[in-house]
């Protein structure tokens, strides 16, 4: 277990700046998720911690020790790769055993720990198979077992669930969460899936173009996004972002007219989450025609259009209406909404 400090780190590939200078501290025992779209520098950041990429500038400290010049093998980390990175010519047992073998753990101890770990991830009966004979989920668990068979200072996980089907992903997510609770090892987890980030993380670092744009708890990232990018990235379905202008204390867009506390200005983006909107009757601030209905099981997603404005609301599962029927939406009592500058993406309210 250890604290990880990235101090003014920077990564350049030739003249291309992949990760601009920034700092980040991951607390001892914390589960930190690096979240962002592909190519945002999250994997590069993780690989720098692992020692698989050199850093161009700055310092990386693990448990207070500067590790810039240490090769990966001496950093005492374990990593789970997106494509598992298993050793195809070895059996499951040999795969899991390999890190112990390299550390010269004696044979009896090795056998015991491999069996314990395999049982923990429910691979106990598959130890003599080769990776090619396993399903995706089983391979994933081999990769996980190989990481947890010894107790490293840090776990690094690079989109470990992205190759699994939706159902398995949910199961494995819970297993990861439980495992972290059980082992308490500092974990850095890279993903582009905001749902994974929200459910797993103690803190989420949302990244864009190499930069961390917001570092906070999942709750605050969701309820208090730092800018337009974070607001649009977090949440499923994502936040409604409507282009318009503020005039005389009201936000005006096609089909919308809402009171806001902001001085007059053009080029404003109004954001409100679908779960903060409700279907209403009569004179509501958001009016249009019904565009689509999507039943998700526990609710119905209602999409309404008025000219260029498109707004999605989460309605009751029983809601039914013909397409193109007039549709009225209103913010729920106590609903939060957000105002952003369209050009810079900066928050304008609060």
């Amino acid at each position: 277990m250890a604290e990880v400090r990235l101090v003014d780190i920077e990564k350049k590939y030739g003249s291309f700046l992949a990760v601009p200078q920034q700092s980040l501290t991951i607390e001892d025992g914390e589960f930190l998720v690096l979240l962002g779209p592909s190519g945002c520098g999250k994997t590069t950041t993780m690989r720098m911690i692992a020692g698989l990429e050199d850093i161009t500038a700055g310092d990386i400290q693990i448990a207070g020790e500067r590790v810039n010049d240490k090769p990966p093998k001496d950093r005492d980390i374990a990593m789970v790769f997106q494509n598992y990175g298993l050793y195809p010519h070895m059996t499951v047992r040999q795969n899991i055993e390999y890190p112990l073998k390299l550390r010269k753990v004696n044979k009896a101890e090795r056998a015991r720990r491999v069996q314990d770990t395999a049982d923990k991830v429910e691979l106990g009966t598959l130890l003599d198979r080769r990776p090619s004979e396993l399903s995706g989920g089983q391979r994933q668990r081999v990769a996980l077992a190989r990481a947890i068979v010894r107790t490293p200072k840090i776990f690094l996980m690079d989109e470990p669930l992205s190759n699994l089907d939706a159902k398995l992903r949910v199961t494995m997510r819970a297993e990861l969460k439980h495992l972290h609770h059980e082992l308490g090892v500092t974990t850095v987890y890279v993903t582009h899936d905001q749902m994974e980030a929200m459910t797993l993380a103690d803190r989420v670092a949302v990244m864009r173009e190499g930069r961390i744009v917001q570092l906070d708890t999942p709750k605050r990232i969701y309820s208090d996004p730092a800018d337009l990018f974070v607001a649009g990235f977090i949440g499923s379905p994502s936040m409604n972002l409507i282009d318009g202008a503020v005039q005389d204390g009201r936000f005006i867009a096609e089909g919308m007219d809402l009171p806001v506390s902001l001085p007059d200005r053009d080029e404003v983006v109004f954001g409100i989450r679908p779960e903060d909107l409700e279907l209403a009757d009569g004179d509501t601030p958001i009016k249009g025609r019904l565009y689509a209905l999507e039943l998700t099981g526990e609710s119905t997603l209602v999409t309404m259009r008025a000219g260029k404005t498109s707004v999605c609301a989460r309605g009751h599962a029983d809601f039914e209406a013909p397409i193109n029927a007039p549709c009225h939406l209103a913010p729920k009592t106590g609903a939060r909404f957000y105002l952003f500058d369209r050009a810079t993406g900066q928050r304008l309210d609060g």
Partner: protein, 271 residues
Amino acid sequence: MNKYIAYWGERALLVLISVVVLFPIGWMFLTAFKKPRDAYSLSLNFEPTVQNFVTVFSDPWNLGSMVLNSVIVAGATVAIAVPCASLAAYSFSRFRVRGRKFLFFLILSTQFIPAVVILLPFFLMFRSLGLLDTRVALIIVNLAIVTPFVIWMIKGFIDAIPTDSEEAAMIDGASRLRVIKDIVLPMAAPGILTSSIFCFILTWNEFMFALILSRRDAVTLPVGLVSFRTERGDLWELMSAAGVMITVPIFIMALLIQKHFTRGMTAGAVK
């Protein structure tokens, strides 16, 4: 009807090509078992004998020493070239060093030079080193010929191995050399085996350098064949028997690794 013609046409063509390719080899095998008086006849009706094989291994032909030379030269070339080439191929495949592409091109470009052009420099070099007519000279020359080729082939195989497993091993605690030993070599083994066989065949069949650089002690099998052209004329039955001795090991190897062989050819071709 058209389909019928295409079907039989295709087969006829394949048979024709096979006959053209296999005829000389078949003829050689038959002649190897013929008595001198039957050697020139095309008849299949002859009394087979193994006397030719006994003759080529005894004085004055002494094929045994040539077999030994060929085995030592080809074996040593493979034993040196393949490990060196594997390490070079790994480096070319994995390390992003400045000038890497140019260096790789440079190594490959040695293959573009016609052998006759470098024949004389090699001859003069070995003469001044006192290495003419030695196996060492032949091994050095063959290494120069096959190593670039083997580097290129093995690099193709290593390129196809995903780096994930290597990185995983490094994080698990392995040094770079340990990664090569534990992960890369086992995964590239079929490719390395194929390359070794190619390397062996190239060296085994090498004729021109062996002809010029050897005289008596270091003569290899292909060069030995020439000695059957005597003042009494060409001794076809003995030449054929020696030819069989040269081709049989290659045939056996090709059969054993047929599957890898074709895969190796295509892998090397596209990478």
